[in-house]
Symmetry: C2
């Protein structure tokens, strides 16, 4: 479901460095027990605030998106990490965050957004497809999905996504 | 020792995405057995090429610096990771890379460079001091050095460096 405004009581704002601890502390729960906290050293919360967003309900963290404008590829934005509280899924919050990121990218003359996920994360693959991302050609196919093997390092394969905005 | 030109046979160039695998493959050796490869997902080699550098001798990798211009803090540059081949240390290559990074930062109107290291990495602390970095106030002192406890996450403390260029 595409929502154009957040439901009453929910707010969105740019992330700030002090959000780091809160995000880190929920990640394992939100990723079903997988510990991906190594993917989010504090630098992402310090240096990419203007393209990263937090959704809150009162004080509680409901969802976040950590993204940045590519420095070398001046037409690209990159979405590094997105999480939604398990009790608030399938309500459009993830898509809302993506579209907010697309907005800031457009305002900075970016026409291409990239992202990636692990082949095991079927929910993320489905989510990206629903929004309109294409899956880039990899060097293997897993469960019918193109996968780039050993992308980050040996054993850390990724499904690569791209969308033109 | 401060070198203003690389010795004959050594070359410096911007990093490119295909350098990722080469860098990852030497890191454990270069860090004395510590595996810090999780700190360098491929995105750093894809999106920050114009502020990251490689020193090579013929085809061999001798040293690298991965840094970027902070997006949110528009007067800052950030040095994320630097490595020098163990057989080529104390020859000024690290300092050469830092000064090349300072140059590109100055050209982009940055007057402050930040970096950090683990308290256990005495060589890195000494190196930063020698170049002229200040150590920022932390919330603890370890072996006479200010340390920010649990900086990246619980148990991952850092010494934070800053220099005005």
């Amino acid at each position: 479901m595409m929502i154009t405004n957040l439901p009453k009581g929910l707010t969105i704002r740019n992330s700030k460095p002090s959000d780091h601890q809160r995000i880190i502390s929920v990640m394992k729960d939100w990723w079903g027990g997988r510990d991906l906290t190594w993917m989010l050293p504090k630098l992402f919360l310090v240096h990419f605030c203007d393209t990263s967003f937090i959704i809150e309900k009162e004080e509680a963290l409901l969802a976040f998106l950590i993204g940045f404008l590519s420095q070398s590829k001046t037409n690209e934005g990159y979405i590094h990490l997105v999480g939604v509280h398990p009790n608030y899924r399938d309500m459009g919050h993830g898509e809302f965050l993506y579209h907010r990121f697309f907005q800031i990218c457009k305002a900075n003359n970016r026409d291409t957004i990239r992202s990636c996920t692990s082949p095991v994360n079927k929910g993320s693959i489905e989510f990206h497809r629903k929004i309109g991302f294409n899956i880039l050609q990899g060097n293997a196919e897993v469960d019918g999905v193109q996968v780039s093997l050993d992308y980050n390092q040996f054993g850390d394969s990724k499904v690569l996504f791209e969308i033109k905005i």
